[in-house]
Each structure stands twice: as C-alpha cells, then as structure tokens.
C-alpha cells in the first residue's frame, strides 16, 4: 500500500475533455473574438478549413481561397445529395470554382463481409449495395460463381433472371427522372416515379417475397419460378406503364424551365467519358454506343432484339432522354422475354456448400448505372478468397469535379442527379 501524496494533482478527465473541446473549437474557427453582442464576421468564409498544413498538392489547391472565394460544405446531411455524399464546394459568389466529393459515409465493408461468407450467402450480402438495382447486384456475382464452379444455368432460369433485371431497370430509370426533377424544385415527378416503382416492387415481391432487397438469385438459377400473382400483376402493370412514364414526360420533356436548366449543362464529351471510365446510360448519352448486353453478351441477351440508343449532346438533358429511351427498350425486352419463356427447371443441381476449384472469374453486367462487374478468386475453400465489385456510380462520380466548375450552385444538384449515383453502391 502506498500513501497518496496530497500535493500530486490527479488529472481530471473532464478537464482534459474541456481543453480538447476548446482546442477543437478554436481549430474550427468557432471561438472568434466577439464584440459585445455583435457577431464578428472576419474569417467567416474560411470556416470549415482544416486546422493543419495541406498534405497533398490537391489539398493545397482546394483549401487556398482567393479573394472573394468561400468554401461551402454540402452534405453528408443535405436535402439533395442522394444519400450521404459530401461535396466540398469552393464558390465565388454563386459560381463554383472548385469541387471535391468526399465519400465513405455509408461504407459497410460489404466486400470483406462477402469474403467471409459462403458462395451461397454472398448473394444475400450484395443486395444493399446499389439499393435501387438489387437484382443487378445479385446477377453479377451469380454469373461469376457459376463460371468459377462451372454450372450450366437452366434456360428458364436465365429468362426469369433477364425478366426481373429488366423490371428493375425500368423502375430505377423512372426514379432517376423524378430525382432529377426534385433536385431542380419539381415536386411531382418523383411521386409519379414512386407510383411506378411501387407497382414493380409489388411485382417482384410476388416472385421473390421481398420488396427492396430481393435475395432472389441463386448460384445456378433463381429461387422461385414465376407464379400466377406475378404474371397477373405483370400484365396489369404492362398495360399502363407507358402511360405512367408519359405522365412524367409531359411534366418535364417539353417544359421550358426544365429544358433551360438542363440543356448545355454539365457537358461530358464521349472521349472524356471513356477516359474517366464512365459507363452505362451516362456514357451512351455522350454518344458512345457501349452497352455490356451487346458488347460482351451474357445471359440470353444475344437472342433478344433491342437497340443500343445513344444521344449526341452529352448534357444533363441528354442523360435524361437516354433514361426514357432505355425504359422503352427494357419494356420491349420484357415483352420478348415473356413471349419466348421456355418450360423447364429454374435451378441447376448445386451442392449445399459450393467449393469451386482454385481459380478466378470475372462477370460484367449492364446495370441501370453502367458496367457492374464482379471479380472473384477462389482458393478452393467454401468462401471466396477475394471478392471485388466494380460499382458504376463510384466511377461516374469521378466526372463531377471536371464538370462542375463554372456552373452555379443550383446546377451542382442537377448535374449530380443526372449521373444518378447511389451512395450505397459508391461506399459499399
């Protein structure tokens, strides 16, 4: 037992916390000197700058404010950043001079989770990545694992797969039209988009049992065959889906305000888009006819007729028109699939625990946001050794800092919404 020296002051943890808070507040520029009752505006435009010397050339460039410039932080809690994206925007007046997207607020480590799951259960983990196209998320790993294990998928299962992913594409593109309008202050199109989405998810829940994260694909097939409820709902939906899309088109496509705000806005030319790795509707809107379904055919797409539609201008309006055109192509595909669907089993014979031979497989599909691909390495065990997903939203976001400077704050949201990023997929 040792005697406690009364002179030694035991540090009070609360004190250090207070010191810490004071230091943090000073660093954040919150404790500026205040004249009695009056706010001190000196340094207002620098609030938000980090309290450390810049670490990289890019940081030095972003955090150096010229005369009249101000740093505005948008997000991660902002009404229209599509989830939890954060944009650091440098503005002069309302004109953007620099922009820096900050990602990672929704990171859940899904790839790592998948590397610790068996091949069968991986398909349940990938659903919430790009939550507006859960069917596509399942499609890519299913193809990759079938390649790894060497499974032949029954024809009927392939048709059902194509059917559900095209249904998913229709509602995803329909929502994009609504979100684009919402970010420009149009309140109604998003509601019409959600009416369409609600009908499609009811359809898909009739076949899969769930409305958002469907968990419908299996390695070697699909979980259920089509049933009567699904088919009757499909017929009903098909009879008025084009009317629903036309409702939104009437509100937006010829709307003078909408056109004035989207044409010539955020122009991404085809060459630049290819350099940045942008794929999907965003690339085709810039005039490059690249569609994975046609360029690297998978599933039953070689047997189906559809056009790879492109736009010429590459602006926000072109990306919007591209979505509408693709909805119509998807509906054309759905008609053909339902028409030609063969009889047969929907699931190949697959063992309960899949142990592929060591090797690697790559599978790419066309998701509503672009080229969605999976690279999986097997080491012979029941779990993937490496599981990597390429999310197209993440790649599309690379284009933002190149497009936005020179535009106004109001246009940031329109340009971002036109790329249709889903932060669940970006942050994984």
């Amino acid at each position: 037992m040792t005697a406690v020296d009364p002179e030694v002051r035991i540090p009070d943890p609360l004190d250090t916390e207070r010191d810490d808070e004071a230091r943090l507040r000073a660093a954040a520029g919150l404790d500026l000197p205040r004249a009695a009752g009056r706010a001190e505006y000196a340094g207002f435009e620098t609030v938000g700058l980090p309290d450390r010397p810049p670490q990289t050339e890019r940081e030095r460039q972003l955090f150096t404010l010229d005369e009249g410039e101000m740093l505005v932080n948008m997000g991660p809690q902002h009404p229209s950043t599509h989830g939890v994206m954060r944009l650091l925007v440098k503005v002069r007046g309302e004109v953007i001079t620099d922009i820096d997207p900050v990602l990672g607020y929704l990171h859940r480590g899904i790839e790592k989770l998948c590397e610790n799951a068996t091949y069968t259960t991986v398909l349940t983990y990938v659903d919430p990545m790009d939550y507006l196209s859960a069917m596509h998320n399942e499609h890519a790993p299913a193809i990759a694992f079938e390649k790894l294990y060497g499974i032949e998928v029954p024809r009927r299962a392939e048709y059902i797969r194509a059917l559900v992913v095209e249904l998913n594409r229709v509602f995803s593109h329909g929502l994009m039209m609504g979100f684009l309008a919402l970010d420009m202050g149009g309140l109604t199109p998003i509601l019409y988009g959600f009416i369409n989405r609600d009908e499609v998810v009811d359809l898909l829940s009739a076949i899969s049992g769930q409305r958002m994260l469907f968990n419908f694909f299996r390695v070697g097939g699909v979980n259920w065959d089509v049933n009567d409820e699904f088919l009757s709902r499909l017929g009903k939906w098909r009879s008025h889906v084009l009317d629903n899309i036309a409702m939104n088109e009437r509100l937006l496509t010829e709307n003078e305000i909408f056109r004035a705000r989207t044409r010539g806005m955020g122009i991404l030319d085809g060459r630049r888009a290819v350099q940045l790795g942008v794929t999907g509707p965003n690339l085709r809107a810039s005039g490059v006819p690249f569609d994975v379904r046609r360029a690297h055919p998978y599933s039953i797409y070689p047997e189906l007729e559809f056009e790879v539609i492109t736009q010429q201008t590459g602006d926000v309006y072109a990306r919007y028109l591209q979505r509408i055109a693709e909805i119509k192509q998807s509906i054309r595909l759905i008609d053909q699939i339902v028409d030609r669907m063969p009889h047969g089993p929907v699931q190949a014979q697959v063992p309960g625990i899949i142990r592929p031979r060591p090797g690697r497989a790559y599978a790419a599909i066309e998701s509503p946001r672009g080229l969605y691909s999976v690279y999986a390495i097997s080491d012979g065990s029941a779990t993937p050794y490496r599981f990597r997903m390429r999310d197209p939203s993440f790649i599309s976001l690379q284009a933002l800092p190149t497009l936005m400077p020179g535009h106004l704050i109001a246009d940031t949201m329109a340009i971002m919404a036109s790329f249709d990023p889903v932060m669940g997929g970006v942050d994984k």
């Binding site: 229209s80 149009g186 309140l187 109001a410």
Partner: protein, 336 residues
C-alpha cells in the same frame, strides 16, 4: 377636443388588430389548401387524420411550432436575428391595411394606397436579407443575398405593370380603382397583355415556386431560414403564405374588380348584406389565384438564379414598359 381624431385612432387600432388576427387563419387556410391540393395532384391522399378530412392539419402545424425550442446560433447577431422574422411578418401584415375587402370595409383608405402597398410589401426583403446575414451560416447568407437580388429586380416590372392600371383608372387608390371597374368593366380586359407579367412578377416577389430561389431546398437547405426554429421560423412561414394571399387579393383588386360580382353589383344591396356579398366574391376570386399558385408549385421545376434575373430585366421589364406606353397613348387619345 377633436373627437374625429380620437375616433380615427380608435378605428385604426381596431382595424390593425382585426387584420393581424385575420392573418393567422388566412395562413392556415392557404397552407391547408397547399397540402391538400398538391396531394391530389400527386395522386396522394394528403393529410386526413386531424379533424374531418384532415382539415386541421395546418392548424396543428401552426401550434406545433409554438411548442418547439427556439434556438439562436452561437455566433449569430442576436438582435437582428431576433428582429428579422418580425420584420418579414409585419411587412406582409401591414400591407393588408389598404386592401378593400368589401364595400366600405377597408382599414386605411388612402389616396395613395397603391404606393403604400408596394412600399410596405417591399420591406420584407430587408427582413430576409437581415435574416441571412445575422444567421452566421453560409447557406443563409447566399439565400439572403439571392432574396435581395430577386425581390429588388422583380419590384420594377411588378410596379410598372400596375402603373398601366393606374393610368387607365386615373387613381392611386384601391377603392377608386374598384369604383372605376364598377362603371367601365374589369380592368383585366384592357390590360390583358400585362396580366401575365404582373402574375409572374408577383409570384417572384413573394418567392413562390417556380421562383423560390431564396429557400431552394435542394440547393440552400432553407435559405435565410436555415438557422431559425420554433415560432421564429413559424413567422417566416406564415408571412410567406400571407404574402401569397395578399398578392392574390391585389391581383383581384387591380384586374378583376375586387369585391365586384361578375355581373352588375346590385346597387340596392347595402349595409351588412352588401358587405357579406362583397366579401364572398372577394375571397372567392382571391382563392382562385391562390389555387393557381399552388398548381404552379406542383407542376414546374425551379428556375436558376441567372435565368430569373434575365427574365426580369430582358422580358418582363420591356413588356411592362410597352404596355405602359400603349395604355398612356390610348388614354390620352381617348380624352381628346
């Protein structure tokens, strides 16, 4: 003792109190209309829980803001931050003083009531600018500056489009403008070209969609109101909807005969019955234009700041000037 002066003061106090009391139910009605009509247009049901058919939803919202905590940001300029909602609300409420609601029912019948009206309503821009400046928030600052630019720009075509009616009727008093319309027919027919200009400029002046740049929620969160909470925010919110109602009443007064019925007003209808009859037509016509504004909000996306300014200076202002000259020439030629 000058009894007429005392009577005048008493009448003024009574009228202002009544008008201030009128603004609250007006705001409730307009907000409820907006909730329900936009819901119908978006194929939703809308509020249907509070009261029969959900008709008390906006009232509950109004009382809810009373119960909320009122916060002031640490770095805010407390005095101006506190005063800004008051200024915006009073600008809207005070401009109601000169509106003739029915025959003889006007709080403050001045010979220059048109000038008074636009002068007082224009004060609200000061409140918004102060709110944006005092909040110590970058979104608020941007919103406040936007509001200043927008409202100052749109006041010019708005006022110029009214001058056409003033030249036509030869009066700056709302009651006399209505009296002119009683004998010559509603003023929107000779002024049909300027009516859209006035409507667009009025919509922009009160920051309604599609010109709600000031509080563009997808860009600036809530513009100058971002840091406000509780009843201070409530005052801004109420002022906005009261201003919408007031702009509709002014549109009706200037162009659609105020409290006049669409057919000749029965001259023998005097006193209380005549007042009720006039009030009925006045509110009916005013709420038709409130409905149009709500309809526009449900339909149109928002303009961009530079496009908005371009429209005010390049389209509306020349149109208003042309209309003013044509009206003046017609009036002068008619008198020859």
């Amino acid at each position: 003792m000058d009894w007429t002066l005392l009577l005048g003061i008493g009448r003024f106090i009574l009228a202002t109190t009544l008008l201030l009391l009128l603004t609250i139910p007006t705001a409730f009605v307009v907000i409820q209309m907006e909730l329900k009509i936009i819901a119908l247009m978006q194929l939703r049901i809308g509020p249907n829980r509070v009261g029969p058919g959900g008709m008390f939803q906006s009232t509950i919202h109004g009382f809810k803001v009373l119960a909320k905590e009122d916060t002031v940001p640490d770095q805010a300029d407390r005095a101006t931050f506190t005063m800004a909602p008051w200024m915006v609300y009073m600008a809207a409420a005070m401009s109601m003083l000169v509106i003739p609601f029915a025959p003889g029912l006007v709080a403050f019948d001045s010979k220059i009531s048109v000038v008074y009206f636009f002068a007082v309503l224009g004060l609200s821009v000061v409140g918004l600018l102060v709110a944006g400046w005092a909040s110590y928030n970058k979104y608020s600052l941007l919103g406040g500056l936007r509001s200043a630019a927008q409202m100052v720009s749109y006041e010019i075509p708005l006022t110029l489009s009214v001058v056409g009616v003033v030249v036509l009727t030869g009066s700056l008093s709302f009651t006399e403008i209505i009296a002119w319309q009683l004998h010559h027919g509603w003023a929107f027919l000779p002024q049909i070209l300027i009516l859209p200009v006035f409507f667009i400029a009025a919509t922009a002046e009160i920051n309604r969609a599609p010109f709600d740049m000031v509080e563009a929620d997808s860009e600036l969160v809530a513009g100058p109101f971002t840091e406000y909470s509780g009843m201070r925010f409530g005052f801004f919110f109420f002022a906005e909807y009261v201003a919408l109602f007031i702009m509709s009443t002014i549109l009706v007064t200037l162009f659609f005969g105020g409290w006049l019925a669409p057919w000749p007003f029965p001259a023998q209808l005097g006193g209380f019955i005549g007042t009720i009859y006039g009030l009925f037509w006045f509110f009916l016509k005013a709420y038709i234009f409130v409905f149009v504004a709500v309809w526009m909000r449900a339909t149109l996306p928002r303009l961009r700041v530079d496009q908005l300014m371009g429209m005010a200076w390049k389209v509306l202002l020349p149109l208003a000037l042309v209309n003013l000259f044509v009206t003046a020439i017609v009036v002068v030629v008619g008198k020859l």
